[in-house]
């Protein structure tokens, strides 16, 4: 999870990395209560980079200008993101700007220190001068000094910059970070250092053991993300979600019970030059004996969602699971084909279709079109394991059963290509 600038700076303050006096503003009218003397910099608090060029950073000399500028910033979306917070900060005169970062390198399996003597907004010169030092043993201050020297620093700056790197490393280690960055680290005419902007990414797998982060006053967006990451770890008994890949022109939808099976199924379609409309992941807990009812509800929930995908001709269900689940799928799909969801769901109206889906793709029409009932229902291709086929199979024109995945995909492709 990425922290915003003001949250990163709060962590900087905790370990003694110098930051300017600043204040957060959630409402442009509150700017009258600003404690920082003018001139002030107002900064849009969004995750995406390039906010300076986009107009999300403004210098203001008095309250009237500040109110107007704050209004503008709140109404300015940067790569689709509106700020919930503006950071008002004192102005700082820099002579030079450095770039410092620590990143976890997954190939080397250790943290790496990065630095450039040309920090700031000019990414090209920053990257051309980027230096790196691999921390392959326990961290010690000499690693930081080595980076400072590689960056071409001399004199007192070697020591003062490496002190800052050491403090960044402390945060990196203690807070389980994926990335910590100061850009720019401003240097004034007296050689004093100031972290003018910063970025921090927390490791998602370690979020739950970093309670101190709750003190950072998360934005609504971050709270949602945080909840999603944390609850994702608790294995619900049955749950489903859309995967991020979809195509508006697709005529086949995939339902799978593992991410890898969705990958394989999608590949098989693409290898035959068919792009699916989307893929849904429907997962179960490993060994619960009585999950069938909730499995059925979830499957119907998915089918109801798929009704709103326009132009769908077939739904391929590829589920490698227990016999009981296989049977449940066959029964649910065949009663769905006979009656539709409405009658099956009648008694469960509230429990199902009112849920909000966080990552619903835009191909799902929020409102069902009124003529949806007249559109031909998609046909089903079920891929279940051989010994899971129930004896009395309600075979029909609308449901096809296979035990081999490739044969199932071929059938679905034939349906897509038929008229």
């Amino acid at each position: 999870m990425e922290l915003l600038e003001y949250q990163a700076k709060e962590l900087f303050r905790m370990v003694g990395i110098p930051i300017l006096p600043s204040q957060t503003i959630k409402d442009s009218r509150k700017i009258k209560e600003l404690q920082i003397p003018y001139p002030v910099v107002l900064k849009s608090q969004v995750r995406s980079g390039g906010r300076g060029k986009a107009g999300g950073v403004r210098f203001v000399a008095n309250t009237i200008d500040a109110i107007a500028a704050a209004r503008t910033i709140f109404n300015l979306s940067i790569l689709g993101e509106y700020p919930e917070v503006i950071l008002a900060e004192a102005h700082y005169n820099t002579e030079r700007e450095f770039f410092l970062a620590i990143v976890l390198d997954y190939n080397l399996q250790c943290p790496v220190l990065l630095g450039s003597a040309f920090g700031g907004m000019n990414v090209d010169s920053l990257l051309t001068n980027l230096q790196q030092v691999v921390v392959d043993e326990e961290f010690s201050l000499f690693y930081a000094r080595r980076l400072a020297a590689h960056m071409g620093l001399s004199g007192k700056l070697i020591c003062s910059v490496s002190e800052i790197i050491a403090k960044m490393y402390r945060l990196f280690r203690d807070k389980d970070l994926d990335l910590i960055e100061i850009n720019p680290l401003g240097v004034n005419n007296k050689g004093e250092l100031m972290a003018l902007d910063g970025k921090i990414t927390l490791n998602d797998d370690a979020l739950a053991r970093q309670p101190v982060l709750e003190a950072l006053s998360f934005t609504k967006q971050q709270k949602q993300l945080n909840d999603r990451i944390l609850t994702g770890k608790i294995l619900e008994r049955v749950r489903w979600r859309w995967l991020d890949w979809h195509s508006r022109a697709g005529k086949v939808a995939i339902i799978c019970n593992s991410f890898d099976s969705a990958l394989l199924t999608w590949d098989l379609f693409k290898q035959n030059r068919v792009t699916p409309a989307g893929a849904v992941l429907l997962e179960t807990d490993f060994s619960e004996p009585d999950i069938l009812e909730s499995y059925r509800d979830n499957l119907l929930d998915v089918l109801t969602q798929l009704e709103t995908v326009k132009g769908l001709k077939t739904i391929l269900i590829n589920v490698w699971d227990t016999q009981a689940i296989g049977r449940e799928i066959v029964e649910t799909v065949s009663s769905y084909c006979q009656q539709g969801t409405s009658s099956i769901l009648a008694s469960k109206e509230e429990s199902v279709s009112t849920k909000v889906r966080a990552n619903e793709p835009d191909l799902v029409n929020k409102q069902k079109s009124s003529d949806s009932t007249t559109i031909a229902r998609p046909r089903f291709v079920l891929r279940l394991l051989a010994d899971e086929h129930p004896e009395a199979l309600p075979m029909s024109e609308t449901i096809y059963l296979f035990d081999g995945l490739e044969a199932a995909v071929q059938k679905a492709i034939a349906i897509v290509k038929s008229n």
Partner: protein, 296 residues
């Protein structure tokens, strides 16, 4: 390879629901689970497995422990692995997924210093059909044979097994590496282990992506074996977000999303092909590629 059904096995985190379930499944597959460890639950039993508070207490009851299976919560994995290493256990399988990477790095350091083999985090274990079941996998899905499979995916290994079974090619071993971004033993290491294994006549690697391409290419150029290696990667046609692994690329991408990211999958596959590795486009290609390589 030195995995046998005589190995003495303990389960750390035996009171976790998953552990209790799979411990019974493994015992049914004739794995000799001598004890479970769960701090605070010493003196109790899970199924008929005696539970101890500490690994070293188990050693007062048995002569030695060969293997530890770790199921503890992800934040306790580092501690559990260190405890196992300290007790002299040299084979550790970490089933718990999503361990904080800084912890895994620490585990790898201790493992290297003590010459311990770590599988995982997030491993599904090891199966040698009809002999060894140290695994969450359904061991009955794999027939006995001569193909060594290294996988990062439980499901894909079943799909491949179905194809191999149909072609009457069974498995000498199935090894699940785990899906975390940093793992203990990796693909190049296991290629080497399976090359040395006399029961393995061909090696199949299954997964989503290969991250140690250069290491594998170097290994293939220097190896003394002519066992065919087949790689199957799933999701190459899926419009997925790229995952960056090295510091420079992570920072470059982070600073400037406008610098186009190069999709390296194609490149990886070309490099592997040049090194003599066969690439399967789908699971059903695998038996054909193996037989073709053998008949040469």
């Amino acid at each position: 390879m030195n995995w046998t059904s005589q190995d003495k096995v303990i389960v750390q985190g035996i009171t976790e629901p998953q552990a209790a379930f799979y411990a019974q499944q493994m015992k049914a597959g004739s794995t000799d689970i001598v004890a479970g460890v769960s701090p605070g639950n010493g003196g109790t039993e899970v199924g008929d497995i005696p539970v101890f508070d500490l690994v070293e207490q188990v050693l007062t009851q048995v002569d030695k422990i060969d293997i530890s299976l770790i199921f503890v919560d992800s934040y306790q994995v580092l501690d559990a692995a260190r405890e196992a290493i300290a007790a002299g256990i040299r084979h550790i399988i970490i089933f718990t997924p999503e361990v904080p990477p800084l912890d895994t790095i620490e585990i790898i350091k201790y493992a290297k210093a003590s010459d311990t083999l770590i599988l995982g985090p997030g491993s599904h274990g090891i199966v040698i059909p009809q002999q060894v079941c140290l695994s969450k996998l359904q061991s009955q899905a794999y027939q006995s044979g001569t193909i060594g499979t290294i996988t990062t995916s439980q499901y894909l290994s079943y799909e491949v097994a179905t194809e191999l079974n149909q072609a009457d090619l069974g498995h000498s071993i199935v090894v699940s590496l785990g899906n975390d971004r940093i793992i203990g033993s990796n693909l190049p290491q296991w290629l080497e282990i399976l090359d040395r294994d006399p029961d393995t006549k061909a090696i199949v690697s299954i997964g989503q992506r290969i991250t140690e391409t250069e290491e594998i290419v170097t290994y293939c150029q220097e190896r003394d074996y002519d066992k065919p290696i087949i790689v199957y990667l799933a999701g190459l046609k899926v419009p997925q977000e790229q995952i960056f692994r090295d510091a420079q690329t992570i920072i470059t991408n982070h600073l400037s999303a406008s610098i186009p990211a190069v999709n390296r999958d194609r490149q990886t596959i070309d490099r592997l092909k040049k090194a003599g590795i066969k690439i399967a486009k789908k699971p059903s290609d695998i038996p054909r590629l193996i037989q073709k390589a053998w008949s040469k």
